[in-house]
């Protein structure tokens, strides 16, 4: 991995504020495609810039991270910039990075929250190829003005079925952030999902 010191946020304070606002907007208006600025910072090989911004902003030494696929040097990168430890057991993770095309890990393997503290569940960052060209999905629910349609490309065929099953557990269940390039779409567990094509 190239010089690890260039792979963080250029400005840790303002950069993380900008990234946080982007994630907040995405979570508040699920389905909206939010773009992170392209000058926020570097991303290590194997991670798209949006994913990098999310991890650099939200992770710290108390948020264990699970990487579904080994990416060279990724644990060191997370450790160096955020202090976040990597974990082997998905259940221990507060954040997880998954490849949307792979069905290797089910949402159920991650912490679902509990009745007293549903917010303690994991947040999954799922990378896909792009946000257009895929099957059309209709989203409704809190934060969505009647309905919104998205069509991410590069997610495995059972992805939306699994999401719907996860969201049926509301208020428990995981939250998902889709990431592609500089863009992100948040799918909190409050969203209702319908496959339309």
């Amino acid at each position: 991995m190239s010089d690890i010191q260039t792979l963080g946020l250029h400005d840790p304070v303002f950069g993380s504020q900008i990234a946080f606002r982007s994630i907040l907007r995405a979570m508040s208006t699920p389905g909206t495609c939010v773009t992170v600025p392209n000058d926020l910072g570097g991303a290590p090989d194997g991670l798209c810039p949006a994913t990098s911004a999310i991890i650099l902003t939200l992770c710290d030494y108390e948020t264990p991270v699970f990487f579904a696929h080994p990416i060279n040097g990724i644990s060191d990168w997370v450790r160096f910039y955020t202090g976040a430890p990597g974990v082997r057991d998905p259940l221990d993770a507060k954040f997880a990075l998954l490849d949307g095309a792979s069905s290797e890990h089910s949402f159920a393997e991650f912490h679902q929250g509990d009745d007293r503290y549903p917010d303690q569940s994991a947040t999954l960052i799922i990378e896909c190829m792009s946000f257009s060209g895929g099957p059309r999905i209709r989203l409704t629910g809190p934060g969505i003005d009647s309905e919104i349609e998205i069509s991410p490309l590069g997610l495995h065929k059972n992805f939306w079925k699994n999401m719907a099953r996860n969201n049926a557990q509301f208020p428990l269940g995981v939250d998902v952030i889709l990431a592609a390039g500089f863009e992100l779409i948040a799918l909190p567990r409050s969203v209702r999902i319908e496959e339309t094509s």
Partner: protein, 368 residues
């Protein structure tokens, strides 16, 4: 009908300017420097650091300057700042046995290993004004240096008692779990000792002092002895993962108090002394002592003592000793409660009208 007044934002901005003016005071008087406060107001800084829950003398001095000496406002500044600091780990537990002692006394043993080191204390001052301090001193004060340094290590008094088997044993729980962090997770009841000690450490000195006093006066069953009070510098150590061994991050001043309390015995446990523990930043004996007395008092639950009095009731103590929270709720009354109050006023008018109507019905025949 009461009507809200407009122009709020401008008025609010003006308050900042007024505060700045008030803070500066008379312009022909030199402005306070943070360095002066840091060097010459250390006991005030200690209180701000404890109640602000952050050890940083420069920041505490800045907070003192910025708040014109309002300790609770200053503690608030430190607490707010603390939340912005990224954490990278936890230190190794502080070893107060290795403290570089500047003061160490015991009220339980007259002659003890290491001796009674009086140090810089106000205990023997006569509480008379020293009017020389009205002007800058002409000579720098200098205490005489002793022939011998104090002992490098001084055993703790409760450990002396413990060697005889007379002191309540306090052992870490099985597997020595990580202590609860009250800044991360909310307090729940019943609260374990780690939660209680953390909360007391940042508790208001005045509130805890009052509670400790109440315990001594009989509102709680403990009769404490000051087993030991020590003050001095302790190294803060950290083990970076990459190195695998501990490095020194720096040193902090701490005051530690161990109170020794009356016999406690039950069918399972022989009579023994029980402990109250206080540990605070900086030189702050009154706070450390009060904390230790209240710590012992809150062990009432674990010792099956009746929890009759406020100092023995953990919900009462732990919820109300945080002065930033307390002042938040008390001072929030200054926020507009106009709608609530309109409701009250209407209710009162209605109740009064009903009362008048009823008493009109009962007017006796005096009308003739």
């Amino acid at each position: 009908m009461y009507v809200a007044v407009k122009g709020g934002e401008a008025a609010i901005l003006a308050t900042h300017d007024l505060v700045a003016e008030e803070r500066r005071g008379a312009l022909d008087v030199p402005e306070l420097s943070v360095a002066q406060l840091r060097e010459q107001q250390k006991l005030g800084l200690a209180r701000i650091m404890n109640e602000g829950s952050l050890y940083d003398e420069d920041l505490a001095a800045l907070a003192m300057k910025q708040t014109q000496g309002d300790t609770i406002e200053a503690a608030f500044l430190l607490r707010a700042y603390r939340t912005t600091l990224p954490r990278f780990g936890a230190s190794v537990p502080l070893d107060t046995a290795k403290m570089a002692i500047r003061r160490r006394i015991s009220a339980t043993y007259k002659d003890l290993p290491g001796g009674q080191i009086l140090g810089p204390t106000y205990d023997y001052t006569h509480r008379l004004f020293d009017f020389h301090l009205m002007k800058p001193s002409e000579q720098s004060p200098k205490a005489t240096v002793a022939d011998e340094p104090v002992d490098r290590s001084m055993p703790r008094v409760p450990d002396i008692l413990g060697d005889e088997g007379f002191m309540e044993r306090e052992l870490p729980a099985t597997n020595d779990p990580k202590p609860y962090d009250i800044t991360r997770d909310p307090i729940e009841f019943p609260a374990d000792r780690d939660v209680r000690l953390q909360t007391l450490a940042r508790g208001d000195e005045g509130f805890l002092l009052g509670l400790a006093y109440s315990v001594q006066r009989g509102f709680g069953g403990n009769h404490p002895f000051a087993g030991e009070i020590r003050m001095g510098e302790v190294n803060v150590k950290f083990v970076p993962e990459e190195l695998g061994f501990a490095i020194d991050l720096g040193e902090i001043t701490l005051t530690e108090c161990q109170m020794v309390n009356q016999f406690q015995g039950s069918k399972d446990v022989p009579p023994q002394f029980t402990r109250g523990y206080g540990l605070v930043f900086g030189h702050a004996e009154r706070k450390a002592m009060s904390m230790a007395i209240v710590d012992r008092s809150l062990k009432a639950r674990e010792f099956n003592e009746t929890q009759e009095y406020p100092a023995q009731q953990e919900e009462f103590v732990l919820y109300h000793c945080d002065n930033v929270e307390a002042s938040g709720f008390v001072e929030h009354l200054k926020l507009p409660h106009y709608v609530d109050f309109q409701g009250e006023l209407e209710l009162l008018r209605q109740m009064r009208a009903e009362l008048n109507a009823r008493s009109a019905d009962f007017v006796p025949e005096a009308a003739e």
